[in-house]
């Protein structure tokens, strides 16, 4: 996080805008760690199809990597939501123990497969260990709140709750600085890198803002648009924190939790769209096809990874239309 440290030193200290920018940039790092975890789950699932030759070392490395990556998520979360740090580290310790027990068990637990369609040759201890690991990662039949995915959802919720806390000085700073209110739309508009270093002297227009994802989000929204419609009218003022390829969109309404994060750099392996919405939001009417949606006690999470630049751009246009069109 050297870059964030530099921003902290160089940025102006007289407002919460710098800290807001740093939080947003750190949240992107947090999402990258979450994505790495999902990639590890996917890698394990792929190897479990029976098409691959792997050994115990692979499975143990996979479990170790999940523990390490989860630890990085917990660290980021404890920085973004310090009040939850103790609780998250306690949950993390339980998962470290679960991982150690899993490796110790050596795949000796019978009938623990994530799928009933396992072939007979999956009786090998390596397959059984991988099966148990997949169950621990995100098993649909696993005991409630024992999976890594469940902890990930909890971490996300704590972080988003903390970021969007109405009393946070970072968010209060937005409404206190009139120059960050867009001249042409009902948006608070933050340039993630420039505004962290110096506050804008005059109001800017969304249309003048050099941000690929923001441009696509609002592409089909007419000049007078920019106000949420339908269900999303309750959203209140929107905050768009953007850089050339990154966009973080959320609202200042304490009763409506919605957060969209995206990277649209054109480099497919790292581009993504992530959305969190509270339980009252119907994502089915908002999102185009292709999103993975996870429901939780906290709200709904949706993401689309490993997609082309065009898919990202098209998806943002549809979401923008559904939100503001």
């Amino acid at each position: 996080m050297q870059l964030l440290e530099k921003l902290k030193k160089l940025g102006h200290k007289n407002t919460g805008i710098r800290d807001f920018c740093i939080q947003t940039i750190r949240f992107k790092k947090f999402l990258e760690n979450a994505r790495s975890l999902l990639d590890l789950f996917e890698d394990g699932r792929e190897k479990f199809t029976g098409e691959y030759i792997f050994d115990r070392h692979y499975v143990v490395s996979l479990i170790d990597s999940v523990v390490e990556q989860l630890g990085m998520m917990v660290y980021d979360a404890s920085v973004l939501a310090p009040d939850r740090g103790e609780e998250l580290y306690a949950a993390y310790d339980r998962h470290k123990l679960a991982a150690a027990n899993l490796i110790e068990s050596n795949g000796s637990r019978p009938n623990a497969g994530p799928s009933e369609s396992l072939a007979a040759d999956r009786d090998d201890p390596e397959y059984q260990l991988l099966s148990d690991a997949l169950m621990w990662f995100n098993g649909k039949n696993a005991a409630a709140h024992t999976t890594v995915m469940e902890l990930m959802k909890k971490i996300f919720f704590f972080v988003i709750q903390s970021l969007e806390s109405p009393g946070s000085p970072e968010r209060q700073a937005l409404s206190e600085k009139s120059t960050v209110l867009a001249a042409d739309k009902d948006f608070y508009l933050i340039d993630l890198w420039k505004d962290a270093l110096a506050l804008p002297e005059t109001q800017r227009s969304v249309s003048d803002f050099n941000s690929v994802p923001l441009r696509h989000l609002l592409m089909d929204v007419d000049e007078t648009g920019g106000k949420a419609k339908g269900h999303f009218q309750k959203s209140g003022a929107w905050v768009a924190a953007a850089s050339e390829y990154q966009l973080s969109l959320n609202t200042l309404n304490p009763d409506f939790q919605f957060r969209l994060e995206t990277l649209a750099s054109g480099y497919e392996p790292s581009d993504f769209i992530f959305i969190f919405a509270d339980s009252s939001t119907n994502l089915d009417t908002l999102l185009p096809k292709g999103f993975h949606v996870e429901n939780s006690d906290y709200g709904r999470f949706a993401w689309n990874l490993d997609v082309s630049a065009k898919t990202i751009e098209d998806s943002l246009m549809i979401i923008g239309r559904n939100l503001f069109g």
């Binding site: 190897k47 030759i53 792997f54 050994d55 115990r56 070392h57 692979y58 090998d124």
Partner: protein, 126 residues
């Protein structure tokens, strides 16, 4: 004209590798023998050379590099393919500099290994 089946030796101290590779490689009619211990495999090789040896790099008693050296000392024509769980440039470079035909990183698909074996087979038959 039918080609002679290849004689392939698989050496990996993880039982699952030989157990799953043997039937996968036998599908094309080749003769495959799997070993979990390097010494046993080398003793078998001393009785009768194999066309292709597929060996793990990291094993407890004898590692893959030593197997590579001892196989090539006995039979220059044998193609040795190294399996590695740690696909580092260093390991690949060392194995290749010592005469390995190629290497493949675990986890892998048998079809990926089959492609390497086909290339080795072409060289053997040229």
């Amino acid at each position: 004209m039918n080609e002679q089946p290849l004689k392939i030796m698989v050496i990996d101290d993880e039982n699952i590798v030989g157990k799953r590779l043997k039937p996968a490689l036998e599908k094309t009619g080749d003769i495959v023998e799997a070993f979990e211990e390097g010494e046993t495999a080398l003793a078998r090789f001393a009785q009768e050379p194999f066309d292709i040896v597929v060996t793990d790099i990291r094993m407890e008693k004898i590692d893959g590099i030593e197997i590579l050296e001892r196989i090539l000392a006995k039979s220059q024509r044998t193609k040795v393919i190294i399996i590695t769980g740690y696909a580092t440039v260093e390991i690949a470079r060392e194995a290749l500099s010592k005469g390995a035909f190629d290497f493949i990183a675990k986890p892998f698909k048998p079809s990926d290994l089959r492609q390497i074996i086909e290339r080795a087979s072409k060289e053997l038959r040229s």
